[in-house]
Symmetry: D2
Subunit: 366 residues, 4 copies
């Protein structure tokens, strides 16, 4: 690796022998200190691993071509879930000891944004940006020192958030179960989001429900709104996305090359890397935006053995048979159809399933 | 069993062969149709089983002495979690497939309580009570028929809630991990709660966060408040409690006899059963009430092998050494103390634990 | 279903509420009492479910065309493992409570085969067959009544074995993880085995290591050998096979149709069903036989994120790169090759894996 | 720590990021190079942790008083199982990915002991001892380099065995589930075994079934037997024991002090440490020896909620009620008794259990 790429280690926990549990961090120093800073992590849901192949492609790219902006990358950021192999799969989406979803405990700072905006009405962007980051950082630091301790998921989330906090662009690399690629984008960043070239984009509300994307942008959206109420027009200084890079438990290095190009194309549009001619192809297809509310989880109405006739990314119409459920106790096959049209985003359950199992994620046009 | 005690079966799910997953329901017909109706369930957290021993004691009691009010009892109400034996313990607190806490998905009805109260300003208690139950029941029924299906935890919660909905008194029997007995009571029911004779009572807010106790009383508290705004003074018609009956994965039939007596004493105070002289002993000790906010979970600050020197129910003072943590990688023992006084409610983690593991529940006097 | 097909229920265990745990059994009465009897079961490894789709195809076939011989079918014969959904997959190959492989505890009878053969030197085939079955049945029955009880796996295996014991042909339907179809056949049944038309056949030794195939044929092979020592030439009266029907956690009804045809073609060759012209196509490909010893499990020499470039059923040569392992802590990809030629039977591990994880099953030509 | 105690790290695996998984090894240099060498490990079954508290007591002792013989200690020797917290307990006895019991894959060398003894008929004890160790070591090393890789359990066992191989005394520290202390001793070491002062001793056969105790002594017992056939009377040079130190998932430092004294008393009898007057008290009680065959596992004949009336270490007689099983579906309690007398060694199952669950370990007087 070139000498502008450095590797370090961050302690995120302690095992039952009293030794550190750590993650590896790669830091790529950019050539332009004024360029935007980027934070990328993968595998907070530990079985969602394709982002690491994308990171390897990005590291190889940066090794050949130094970026303008500083980039911090943490692959496999959840070492607790990483090795939780149980039977035929991982327990990687939640803490196996208590059920905590690894992506729901990022810190929501307690800030009076109106007061903050008033105090910083005359500050530069750099000035109030630094002040807000400092404020959040202190709050996270205090939370980490709580007299009562922190759960594993919360501690891990807070530690990663401390790393992400200093970036202007935050990319959290996930996958769905067996899925088409899609992107979670904040509503205000709709135009920027197009630059990733993802065919399917889910627009999320300006709230803070514990995932990194929301925790990353919420303070910046809030302060921008507060400034607006004081008649100062400001952009939202931070963009934060969750990239759903296909299917879990799977590495596909060829697809990773294309996904890395998508990210580079977006980063070029943000001035983090130089424009590259080769990126255009990723934008061939039109981008569809969906409201978060149209994204629905579908659960099994019957218990049985499930087989699907549709692939993620395909659409279906009302009453179309898109799968079947074998019930061996009754020696019959039940066709599966729904009373709505939809786009199949992901297949989350197949094979032997009880009633109530998570079957599908769909975008539902009611 | 006497003929006023009947047994039936409720289908709550379907296994992967297409067969019904059911729970057993016992119905005890009371002698007085005007007496309050009671609903009791145990083991929604499937590894929390002591409530079943209490139910067996109650059934034996009712078999000898018919109650005044109708009583519905569902032991082991979570057959999905019941048999989830994995290694040295159960996965009984959450759905092993997706991490859903089995006690967080009870239905919160969408009701305009102000409009309801206005419509029923002249109704009798029985009249508006029946109307409100009918409204909630219809909403749950509709939710169970959702086009998108329901997750296992949600479906199970909704089905039990349909049973509980018709009762005036709802008792949800749980345990903590390794714990002293304690009671969750709504704040408005503080005086009634004393009749259980539990030494420790946690007062919960009038909100609805998904547990059965809250889901059970929230609509009734809300409608009472709405009536009050219209200057009609009404009691809250439903009382709903969670009883924490000691330690999980454990049956203690002698203790169950005493716990059953506590419940009978409370039911006698509500006119559901006849007063019995023998109940008084359960009230020997004074009852302490704590705000929900003073009940704190304590997480491991170190990874290691944990040993505790205190028993649940005992108190400790600031900086008292109440346990130790062996770190074998460093061949040392770290004493454990906290910068606050407290009452130890439960020991939730012992043995080999990572940093961030749930150690204790304490009532914390800041 | 026609009236020669009947359904019944067999109790194989008891859940923690004291209720029966049962499996469904289908019995198809044949037209010819002298024809061979068949026993078919699926999903003892509960995540290996394709056999059920095959069973549904067979039931549909038998419903249209009554067989000559009696056929007993038990789909999803392991209801304990069936619903063990944990995180991203099943724990279906072993008892989640104690690690017992569900397919290793079938009963091995204690029989002095030489003495048995001497006693039955003049018996008819039917005569000594009935006597041997009776002997084994009594031993299994006694074992089920052990004063010390039986583990879940052992009890389940014994109960299924009681059903299988009365058949002349035993088919145990399994799958591998992500695999090509293959067949385990006893060495003496090599010629019969060809009739299934499976491209890959593993020949197993005449021993008894706890799986159903071996437990099914071992007594019959032993008694035939004992007769041979007394100069009476007898065939081995029972044939017992394990069919590996592709990949686990998957239902493919189109493939199931073809697999059902393969089974029917074999059954026709045994006189259990009528010959059908359509079966021939299944035999287009040549059958390769392999010694059990050449079937090898391959384990990960490195920990990392695994990607494979080869499909099950394909061959590879010494030093050919057939996959790669990403090690994100070192930002590198390690090519995977082996110092031997081989046939890839199955991919058992992909994605995030520790060193020592089960990667592949191969047939290895040393 | 004194400078004759050193700490090092042994790599036993690699995680899914490609980093080493290691265990900590403590080496205590003795004062007398001719004294016997000792190997101690704890927690191969990762939830059996009391041995670590004993090790800490031993380290503290050795820090104050240097031993005569060299002592190697590996606490928490199974870092893969160590952090496998799932729901209410550990999966620590077996590999959660495939069910492998962590204590069943130690290496059994392929040695022609008769030929070895003939070659070494004139060798000194030291001479043939060194040669045999070298032979085994080379075979283990080759096995670790297998072209096909090794499973996690096998690799971990082999690595620990390489450490144990050079010792004259091997102590493997385990616990049972909820149990009295007991000792596994090879039959030939019966007299030495008394020195531990354990009340209950199970005598194991001279075979090699994959556990460390057997793997440790089997070659030495075999070579002694081979010498005997050549009329050279030799002692068995290695003693190897499994110490069952009470209950799993539990640390008790007071009990650990007593258990450490028991070990020191044994070591003193072997000349590894100086005699100490204080050790005698551990031998107050008589030692009972039991054949391996009289140690029986008892499994649940009913599914239900189990409560026990007896403690580990207590005896029971035929038909004595020693517990009960609540079956809530039938609202009844079934008394538990057995048709034999016995000593209760451990309670392995309580609470909600299916039929076939492991209930007890007993010593059974048939």
């Amino acid at each position: 690796m070139k000498n502008y790429i450095t590797k370090s280690s961050i302690e995120i926990g302690q095992n039952a022998s009293g030794e550190a549990i750590s993650v590896t961090k790669f830091t790529i120093k950019g050539t332009d200190t004024k360029a935007k800073k980027v934070y990328i992590q993968a595998s907070m849901h530990a079985s969602e691993i394709q982002g690491n192949a994308v990171i390897l492609a990005l590291l190889n790219h940066f090794n050949e071509k130094q970026p303008l902006g500083n980039i911090t990358i943490i692959p496999q950021c959840n070492p607790i879930g990483r090795d939780m192999l149980i039977g035929a799969g991982h327990v990687g989406r939640f803490d196996a000891a208590n059920g905590d979803n690894w992506n729901r405990y990022y810190f929501k700072p307690e800030i009076n944004y109106q007061a903050f905006a008033e105090n910083h009405l005359k500050s530069t962007q750099a000035g109030y940006g630094k002040a807000l980051r400092q404020l959040i950082s202190t709050q996270i630091e205090n939370a980490l020192q709580s007299d009562f301790g922190l759960s594993r998921a919360r501690r891990l989330n807070y530690r990663m958030q401390q790393e992400a906090l200093w970036a202007d662009i935050i990319l959290d690399l996930h996958t769905d179960t067996h899925a088409v690629d899609y992107l979670y984008s904040p509503q205000y960043a709709k135009e920027s989001a197009k630059k990733f070239g993802f065919e399917h984009v889910l627009l999320i509300e300006n709230k803070c429900n514990g995932a990194l994307d929301e925790a990353g942008f919420y303070p910046w959206w809030s302060v921008q709104k507060a400034f607006a109420q004081l008649a100062r027009e400001e952009p939202v200084l931070v963009e934060s996305y969750t990239l759903e890079l296909g299917s879990e438990e799977l590495i596909d290095h060829k697809k990773a090359e294309i996904q890395a190009q998508s990210i580079l194309h977006y980063l070029a549009s943000q001035g983090v890397v130089d424009q590259m001619p080769g990126h255009k192809h990723a934008l061939a297809k039109p981008v569809a935006f969906y409201d978060e509310g149209s994204f629905r989880q579908v659960y099994a109405k019957n218990g049985g053995l499930y087989e699907w006739f549709l692939l993620p990314g395909e659409t279906f119409v009302k009453d179309q048979v898109i799968g079947q459920c074998l019930q061996m106790a009754h020696a019959k096959a039940i066709p599966i159809c729904y009373p709505f049209d939809g786009l199949l985003i992901s297949i989350n359950g197949k094979g032997a399933l009880q009633q109530g199992s998570h079957l599908l994620n769909v975008v539902n046009a009611l």
